[in-house]
Subunit: 408 residues, 2 copies
């Protein structure tokens, strides 16, 4: 039986763990290394799907937590799945919702004394709430070994995710690549808690995998990635990569928030431990400098909200670093955002005009800024891929970063 | 000497005043009847200039008042004019700013007791303020025979426009078609005031024309339209059309707010009076039903903010009338916004998805809605033009309106 996701490595770097490969999905191939823009609510903010190809967007990653809350995974399933719902035939990923439950889940920990106010309507199937546990837990969501209870950031209603529920929702949404449900502990959690969360994540990984493999139709149509956790602790990361690596996942996500300085050693230990022939996705990290670190440590795909979020606020990438296009110094700058960029913004509009749009509160500012930022990153990963294929990744990286950091 | 604007009529309707024509401008031709989207601050809200052609956008109309306030006409001039500033080679019009001065000018009349608060910084060249006159005037801006004083809607600073100043600004902005500075009286003004405002508009028309013709470079590069006023009074409209028609304008705008019921008889008297061989632009009116009325009365071009504003709020045109896409009844409507429409929105996305985008506060909702609304109108005027050329304007109109009104 052919698996829905396969991965073929074309070239490995001789110095680092970098590799150029192709990730095959039911909706087409992704040439890696690749930047995967975030499309939380089934849309990359500000980008028209008609422009994906022109912008080098090969895929996007949507979010189970957000789509569950609105419009609901059932509606998406009735529409024929997320590709039909969005009118998009590109490969799509969905994050499991674990990270959002912990980072957005409201009411637990932030102001625990206000927990379950009168307006909260428990959702169907919600666990019985143990106030003592919640108030003593001190986190943004209430975790138990079975799953997580949390309140919606939209309306304060109470909800519960378990690994089985996350997989069920991701089946209904129908992305090409889905993720196991994990606990993403805080980057400042101590060793003991990180170990506990990691071990729970592993038990949830087994349950996620089992829920996925049992649904034969979905198992043949969607690939499931496990998520390596372990925070900033190398031994936990090694253990996580080893234990998950022994499970039959179609690929691996590397989760958790870290300090930027911790990324490289952690990724390296993870990547040397994970099965080499499966693809690796770095969750939530993907600005230009991070991408070089990730690629050198064997990461194949990246997602990150910053390129789109920066695009909306006017922080735009250039080969000489990020600029704040709203600054007065750009008011009459008639050069392009980035003279080397081939995006529609940079082939047609001056910094002066783009700044005017942001300063006037015109939608076209964030649209053009987002177009540019996304293309900057897809072009960067395209160039990185080219450099790996041509055996000059190190020199490409050194030259790019020297110029990128030159304005600092 | 060849004039920058010329106009050639290809076919006249045998029943109504409708005509199919071509308006030649320094930046290319506009096939008429045409809908001209509003690009107030040098951008059609939500639309990428790269898509103008695909959406049938032949031209846009920007606004002198807004561009004067930000980024300033001097900056646009230094950029090489509005085409270079915007990165757009299409024909562009600018409204004179008269309407905005009267409709947005703040501080006069609205709360006159707060007029010239401590924060107001008089702008250079501003007239001395006569408080008694201002407080007794009861309008949104202070008009005298020389010009208009008003405060900025952005920061309350005091400014002054005269016909000469409006033309000077429009020269610096550099659109293909510019408009004489006019007084746009309130639609509820009485006969006496409408007559006074119209006569002042005529004196300002002479001054606008003189300021334009005296600047030889600009006179050879930009065309100037006079603006017919006179409110809802047919005799004033006839007088205005006659007096302005005798002046050497390159075309004519029809200004003023009217009640929808007044439009047809007024337009007819205006159009029969204006020179037949010059083009006529209906300022600020251009929803589907209005366009049929205007075309039948000899209007060649239309602008209106509603199609873009409706696009942002989710009021979308269909051949069976306008729908509010945010209604719950569209949550699972997997049909297209308008099955006959050839816009990118209607060839790719369901009502269900578009509704989800609006309900989620995603930018792509207003973007796709605006794309559709604009294309709906450019396609409508394309079809109207075709019907005039084929001598079946009346039957096309009757069929379109019967279906358009069928859902009411």
């Amino acid at each position: 039986m052919k698996r829905p996701i396969s991965f073929s490595i074309e070239k490995k770097d001789s110095v680092s763990l970098a590799r150029a490969a192709t990730l095959h999905t039911p909706h087409g191939d992704i040439q890696t290394p690749a930047f995967i823009p975030v499309g939380t609510k089934a849309t990359i903010k500000g980008i028209q799907p008609m422009q994906f190809k022109e912008l080098g967007i090969q895929s996007l990653i949507a979010n189970t937590y957000h789509l569950y809350l609105s419009p609901g995974e059932e509606l998406i399933e009735r529409a024929g799945g997320i590709h039909a719902f969005m009118g998009c035939n590109a490969p799509i990923m969905t994050d499991s919702g674990g990270f959002q439950v912990f980072s957005l889940g409201d009411g637990f920990g932030k102001k625990v004394s206000k927990f379950i106010p009168a307006v909260v309507k428990p959702a169907p199937g919600v666990a019985v709430y143990d106030e003592e546990l919640a108030t003593s837990h001190g986190k943004l969501a209430l975790v138990d070994d079975e799953g997580v209870s949390f309140t919606s950031h939209l309306d304060g209603t109470l909800h519960r995710f378990t690994p089985e529920r996350s997989i069920e929702m991701q089946h209904k949404i129908g992305a090409d690549i889905i993720f196991a449900f994990d606990e993403c502990a805080s980057p400042i959690s101590d060793y003991e808690y990180q170990k506990e969360a990691m071990e729970r994540t592993h038990r949830w990984a087994v349950r996620s995998l089992s829920a996925h493999r049992q649904n034969v139709d979905k198992n043949n149509a969607q690939g499931l990635y496990g998520i390596v956790q372990g925070g900033r602790f190398e031994d936990l990361r090694e253990q996580s990569a080893r234990e998950l690596g022994e499970m039959d996942f179609d690929g691996y996500g590397i989760g958790g928030s870290f300090n930027k300085g911790d990324i490289l050693p952690i990724l390296e230990v993870v990547q040397r431990t994970l099965p080499q022939e499966k693809s690796r996705h770095l969750l939530g990290i993907g600005e230009p400098e991070d991408i070089f670190i990730g690629v050198a440590a064997g990461i194949d795909t990246f997602d990150c909200v910053l390129p789109t979020r920066n695009g909306r606020t006017g922080a735009l990438y250039t080969k000489r670093g990020k600029i704040d296009i709203t600054l007065a110094s750009f008011a009459e700058d008639r050069s392009l955002i980035d003279e080397d960029c081939d995006c529609p913004t940079c082939t047609q509009f001056t910094r002066s005009y783009v700044r005017h749009l942001y300063k006037s509160g015109e939608m076209l500012g964030p649209i053009l800024g987002t177009i540019h930022n996304i293309r900057f990153l897809t072009r960067l990963t395209d160039c990185i891929r080219e450099s790996i294929l041509n055996d000059n990744f190190q020199s490409f990286r050194d030259e790019f970063l020297a110029e990128y950091r030159s304005s600092l």
